[in-house]
Amino acid sequence: MSPTYEKADSGSGERRRSGKETMDNDRIEQILNEHQGQAGSLIKVLMEIQEQNHWLPREVLVKVSEKLEVPLSRVLRIATFYKTFSLTPKGRHEIHVCTGTACKVRGAQRVLDEVQELTGIKPGETDSDLKFSLETVNCQGCCSLGPMIEVDGKTHSKISPAEIADALKKYE
């Protein structure tokens, strides 16, 4: 399909998390076909694609617009409204730093500062070699674990700034 999908490819097949950098086009077609003509499913469709592909390339948004019969302007509006949707490729590893109140009062800011220092990126950014993406999240509902960060869905609980370098070392 479109070469855009290959942009985020990091090279080594081993390093690649499946479905992360190269889009599974069949799966996307399938999602679109399931909701053909259903304008009301717009958010659902974008979310399913985001979960599959980890970002929303422009070509895909155009397809969503055509298949669901929703003007592209509205597709773009929804795709840019929610922080969850990304219009640029994400890194191989997604770091989520919880900055909910409980984590905050237990020192989330220092944790976030340290993650930024180590990765060189700010929340919402991806580093240039597409290793890490960084986001802050509001509250994951596990306030007894704070401060906490999540890397690729794995929780590192009650983490201190000094432990972060070690935790991030494991990710290639």
């Binding site: 659902k44 509006r77 929610y82 109140t101």
Partner: protein
């Protein structure tokens, strides 16, 4: 699995399930609530599975991954039945010993049970642990007893008997009357009487009506709905079906967060099981009543928990609220009458129908009935989910259940309701948990998220934090909210940076007043609440920042520099 076509068949099925239960057979219930998951309880579960295999106990011992037990601070939690021995902070390394010593040998392992940090007293059972003792766990108490992925476990504890009673022994008017007499108030934050809301929707013109579970729970520090819904999805679903029958709705929606995969999975399983058994879909239990449920997901913005915004996003549109001179219960999704209640509100319904409004209204205070789930977090020894009768004092919650403030610090404030709530000082903690009392004090019970703040917290910074949070979560549709948040945030940031000016407090009050009056939706109108409550009780801290360039809590970095 066979479809159930009558109450008799339901009771027959229940009898069958109960007859298969061997009361003396050991069962290991492992908490799989969100906090325990974060602590790696999946490794604990696999360790149990492996050890049971190793010791060839597959037929002799059951394993149950359950919903949240509540005592999140001490997870992963494991309860061994039938003795109900409770082990805390269990690691995979403890597992072989638990099987050999406790499950087979019936001996208690001393180091894994609860030890009171103050008295050294031990507690073998969950109900003896101070955190659980004296709670009234009417809603969440069944979590350790059921596997949320199994409708049979829910049926075994009497599940869906309230639905059967409502459908066959009561007409919708009678159910409505019961809910109204129980004085069940909405648990999502507003505290509006649920019965009145149901009645408005029921009486609204139009054949098509909708019922909705608001499981959005976007407030930071709120995790009780997640604990309840993930751990016992059928309880909420049963309440919803009863509500739909009462209101005359045939289509329901569950609106929940996309980023809690376990909750999503448990809801999906519960829906498909209920459908297979004929508890959802056409002709429920042979009553002739039809009802379906669809799941919709929020994709991550706080404002989409607001009722009119939530309904827009169910329609597939951007979650922007609208003015509510016409209530959503009259004109909601696709402009049809739509009754929205929070998870905990729906979960209260089955017990009201089973036990009657008289029983229900005997619990709580004069105007706030029943129990309330509280998610306790912040500077507190025992973070977790607590369920107590309305009217319990905040002091009891903090000290008896929460275990007090860690690290020998002093309690400074209690904050309810997240970024739309308010803070009250330590001097007011004798106040009861009550919708009206708390709201008179300038805070609000909110959904029940109780944030405990110790002396090291700067109340200017906490207000700034909430506004910073809201600046990213407001939809931006109306000017007072969009611009008001931005300006208040700017002033507060300046104050915490040591650049506060004479007159800032007055200006903050003026902007807060306008936003509170003029914003479009309840989110916008509640934005100033934390700030105003803090100006009411902690004004001296704001003044110290501005006039003396001093942060009394020694939190604000820029001001600390001045001290040195």
């Amino acid at each position: 699995m066979a479809r159930i076509n009558s109450v008799a068949e339901l009771e027959e099925l229940r009898k069958g399930i109960l007859s298969k239960i061997e009361p003396d057979k050991p069962c290991i219930a492992i908490c799989a609530g969100i906090a325990c998951l974060g602590l790696g309880n999946d490794r604990v579960i696999s360790a149990f599975e492996e050890e049971i295999r190793k010791q060839s106990l597959e037929t002799k011992v059951d394993i149950r991954a359950t919903g949240c037990h509540g005592f999140c601070e001490k997870g992963p939690i494991v309860v061994i039945y039938p003795e109900e021995i409770c082990y805390l902070e269990v690691t995979p390394e403890d597992v072989p010993e638990i099987i050999t010593q406790t499950v087979v040998g019936k001996k208690v392992i001393d180091r894994l049970i609860y030890t009171d940090p103050n008295t050294g007293a031990k507690a073998v059972h969950q109900f003896e642990i101070p955190f659980y003792k004296n709670q009234s766990r009417l809603l969440i108490g069944n979590n350790p007893k059921i596997n949320p992925k199994s409708i049979e476990d829910y049926l075994a504890i009497g599940g869906y008997s309230a639905l059967a009673k409502a459908l066959f022994a009561m007409n919708p008017e009678q159910v409505l009357e019961e809910i109204k007499k129980a004085n069940l108030r909405g648990r999502g934050g507003g505290g509006f009487p649920a019965g009145s809301k149901w009645e408005t929707t029921r009486n609204a013109p139009g054949e098509e009506k909708y019922v909705i579970v608001n499981a959005h729970e976007g407030e930071p520090g709120a995790f009780m709905d997640r604990a309840l819904f993930t751990g016992n999805p059928h309880l909420v679903l049963e309440g919803l079906i009863i509500g739909a029958y009462t209101i005359g709705s045939h289509q329901g929606f569950i609106y929940t967060r996309h980023d809690t995969p376990q909750l999503r999975e448990n809801i999906d399983i519960a829906l498909s099981e209920a459908k297979e058994y004929g508890l959802l879909g056409k002709n429920i239990l042979g009553s002739g009543f039809n009802f379906n449920v669809e799941v919709h997901l929020d994709v991550g913005i706080f404002v989409s928990g607001e009722s009119s915004a939530l309904m827009r996003s169910i329609e597939g549109k951007a979650p922007e609220p609208r003015p509510k001179y016409i209530r959503t219960s009259v004109s909601g999704i696709w402009n049809k009458p739509s009754n929205l209640n929070n998870v905990e509100t729906w979960a209260n319904v089955p017990q009201i129908i089973n036990n009657g409004s008289k029983w229900y209204s005997s619990i709580g205070t004069e105007r706030s009935k029943g129990t309330k789930l509280i998610s306790l977090s912040g500077n507190i020894c025992n973070t977790g989910v607590v369920e107590v009768p309305m009217g319990t004092s905040l002091k009891e919650i903090i000290y008896n259940f929460g275990g007090g403030i860690p690290n020998g610090k002093k309690l400074k404030a209690v904050h309810f309701g997240g970024p739309m709530g308010g803070s009250i000082p330590e001097s007011l903690i004798d106040s009861p948990l009550d919708f009206d009392v708390l709201s008179k004090l300038g805070t609000s019970l909110g959904a029940g998220d109780m944030l405990v703040l110790d002396e090291d917290n700067c109340m200017v910074e906490v207000a700034r934090y909430f506004l910073d949070f809201l600046s990213g979560e407001s939809c931006g549709k109306c000017v007072p909210c969009r611009e008001g948040i931005r300006q208040m945030l700017k002033i507060l940031t300046d104050i915490t940076d040591g650049k506060g000016k004479e007159g800032d407090i007055e200006l903050l009050e003026e902007i807060a007043g306008v936003v509170g009056e003029a914003a479009l939706c309840s989110l916008g109108r509640s934005v100033p609440k934390p700030l105003l409550s803090m100006l009411k009780y902690f004004r001296d801290e704001y003044e110290a920042h501005i006039k003396d360039k001093r942060c009394p809590a020694l939190f604000c970095k820029e001001l600390k520099k001045g001290e040195l």
